[in-house]
Symmetry: C2
Subunit: 404 residues, 2 copies
């Protein structure tokens, strides 16, 4: 018998219920009332849906419920619940950010009970609101109100058996949000649904809580580095805000290159830290208003290596180090300290190089004229392919020209 | 009927199976074979164990299994599985570090199948090995070998029906460890046990993976701050390593006060950052080998406020700021900048103050004699209650005296 889900279903002599959580899954569901068994083969991720389908088929095939049938159905339900929870763990593992994780949880919740639409709310700082399969504004505000209520009261509720709401609670840390689902496509909510959703919500809450801890730490980390770097930049009034502008412009280039999520965060960090080696430079160089002596220039040119020396003992920073060490290399190999050329130069370093040079050109300097934004953009264009990676220079000029 | 688990069990006329996941839980288990129902009231966390006990009672009471009884038992199993997974989420929520989380997972795994002992292994950097209820070295090495094998092969295995091993796998990121359980107290492993343990292992893997991401970020954060602070300290050869020593000594005091886990991490960060305001001091002050002028002293004395000014824009740093701003306050109210006294001074600041002053005394200074460790400890003792919180000064002197 073919189903509308692309599964193969065969009816066999009665045997036990089986379920295998392999990527290519196989489930066997008893319908003992008819001495039948359905064997299902297909993608494991859709197994919960299919098990439900089979059960519904059984219900349609004969309404004469007897105790044995209802017991069997309950067993299928229970197996389905484990399969649903397993499936949610897979989805959560694939999701890379809180929005994707909210989607994974809500999708699983909807499928698990066959609800028509849902809403997931994370309250507090970093508030997140996610709707799935909702069509009207009215539906959305009703679900949001229910999710808020569950989050506020910290307990589950069923509204007229048609809507269901669950708090997202973490033991010791309280309620961090709520989950609300619209009416089921068939039947009304039963206590079994509540139990499954409570377990599902408990895991979701743990994940969102752990996401939040991570994000809080990340914000603290980036803020601390940004503030320290800014204080170093500000020792020379002419470089005030330099590293932060380089971060912003580097990110702008990266977004155009499709660098996002965690990789983009790494680039931001690299950009903030690119001049960290300047901590070691004496005030006499930083505040020099006239020409630097050759010895002083030599010291200035050592800041990429000094940055490497400062940062290389740090754990988990290996992907950032080349950006610090190579941001004064040139695409034509005439840069310093190593004379690397072309794509041998670290990608982050090639991005930062453009943003860094542009910012340096537009800063007030005593040893060369200050450029207007237009002059500096012309300079970047003219040095594309020699000083700069033409790809990075092109994106930068295009984006910055578009802005003005 | 009283059980050996401190639960009250009453036999009632037959009804449906019920389970309530309240802190004070209640479960009702059918034993239809005898027209009986057991109602259980007791702590929710032990409910899975008790449900198992009841089931086992039923088995003992009559060995005449019929289909209805076995189906009912299967339903109880399935309910138990949800209850077990719910219970694990509660335990994970209460656990504060990876060791505690490993314990929570292993404890749940053992209880869920009634296994005699187990082992949880997280491989790679930050390797973690956790045993529960194992008695002999032989037992431990057998379990460890199984957990390693499951982690290596990335799939579950049952060894001679007596041992079971599960990989800890996160979709898209691969296998990060393994879980191995010894023989069941009753019977051998069944496919239902495998399914439950697979789901349990999937969630455990997600949590350990997210823990690892957090720890990696934390190590990167602390390493970066430490390196930057060290580079600032090193501008004056006499203060090289100062902030790192203050961190270490502050942590030593904190441990004695029972400050641990996340709170201890916050203190470490505060100690590393206590002198961050010195970024703004000119080299002429940092490298001064003679007496500072009154104007220069005034600048030096502003470093707590400068630290506050640098750090206050940072997110999630509110608990650290007072430590930066108040580490030069004195217990007797004669410190700067605000003249706060006693326990009005932030706890972290009172801890850091002792560690900071001790380190300053033992550093080479031109404007006062360098103290030996013993002289500096005497100085701390003599200024206990005036400059220093006597509690902090006492712990510091005691610990440092004990060390030598």
């Amino acid at each position: 018998m073919a189903s509308n889900l692309g599964f193969e279903i065969r009816l066999l002599p009665l045997a036990r219920v089986k379920y295998t959580a392999e990527p290519e899954g196989a489930a066997t569901v008893d319908i003992p009332e008819f001495g039948l068994q359905a064997e299902i083969i297909g993608p494991a991720e859709q197994m919960p849906q299919v098990s439900r389908l089979i059960r519904e088929l059984a219900v349609e095939m004969g309404q004469q419920e007897n105790e044995s049938l209802s017991l069997t159905r309950e067993i299928v339900d229970r197996y389905e619940q484990l399969a649903i929870l397993f499936e949610m763990s897979e989805r959560l593992g694939r999701a890379e950010d809180p929005g994707a994780r909210a989607g994974a949880v809500l999708e699983t919740a909807l499928e698990s009970v066959g609800a028509s639409g849902g809403c997931l709310l994370l309250s507090g700082p970093g508030r997140l609101l996610y709707f799935l399969k909702t069509e009207t504004e009215e539906e959305r505000s009703q679900l949001l109100a229910l999710a808020e209520k569950a989050g506020h009261l910290g307990r589950a509720s069923v509204e007229e058996r048609s809507h269901i709401a669950m708090p997202l609670t973490v033991s010791n840390r309280g309620t961090i949000g709520g989950l609300a689902l619209g009416p089921k496509e068939r039947g009304s909510y039963r206590s079994g649904d509540l139990k499954l959703l409570a377990t599902l919500a408990a895991y979701a809450a743990l994940f969102f809580d752990s996401d939040r801890l991570y994000q809080d730490l990340e914000a603290l980390f980036f803020g601390t580095v940004r503030s320290m770097v800014e204080a170093i930049d500000a020792k020379d009034p002419r470089t005030r805000g330099h590293s932060e502008r380089v971060r912003k412009h580097s990110l702008m280039i990266a977004q155009e290159l499709g660098i996002e999520g965690r990789a983009a965060k790494r680039l931001e960090l690299a950009a903030l830290l690119h001049d960290v080696g300047k901590i070691g430079l004496p005030d006499s160089i930083l505040n020099n208003r006239g020409d630097l002596s050759p010895q002083q220039w030599e010291l200035v040119r050592q800041h990429p290596q000094m940055g490497l020396a400062i940062m290389s003992p740090v754990a988990n920073i290996d992907d950032i180090l080349p950006a610090i060490g190579e941001h004064h290399e040139r695409y034509d190999g005439q840069g310093y300290p190593s004379g690397k050329a072309g794509e041998d130069i670290n990608l982050f370093a090639r991005i930062i190089s453009v943003a860094d040079a542009f910012d340096a050109m537009t800063m007030e300097r005593t040893y060369r004229p200050t450029f207007t934004k237009e002059q500096a953009l012309r300079e970047v264009r003219e040095n594309s392919g020699s000083q700069f990676d033409p790809g990075m220079a092109g994106i930068f000029c295009q984006k910055l020209t578009a802005k003005s």
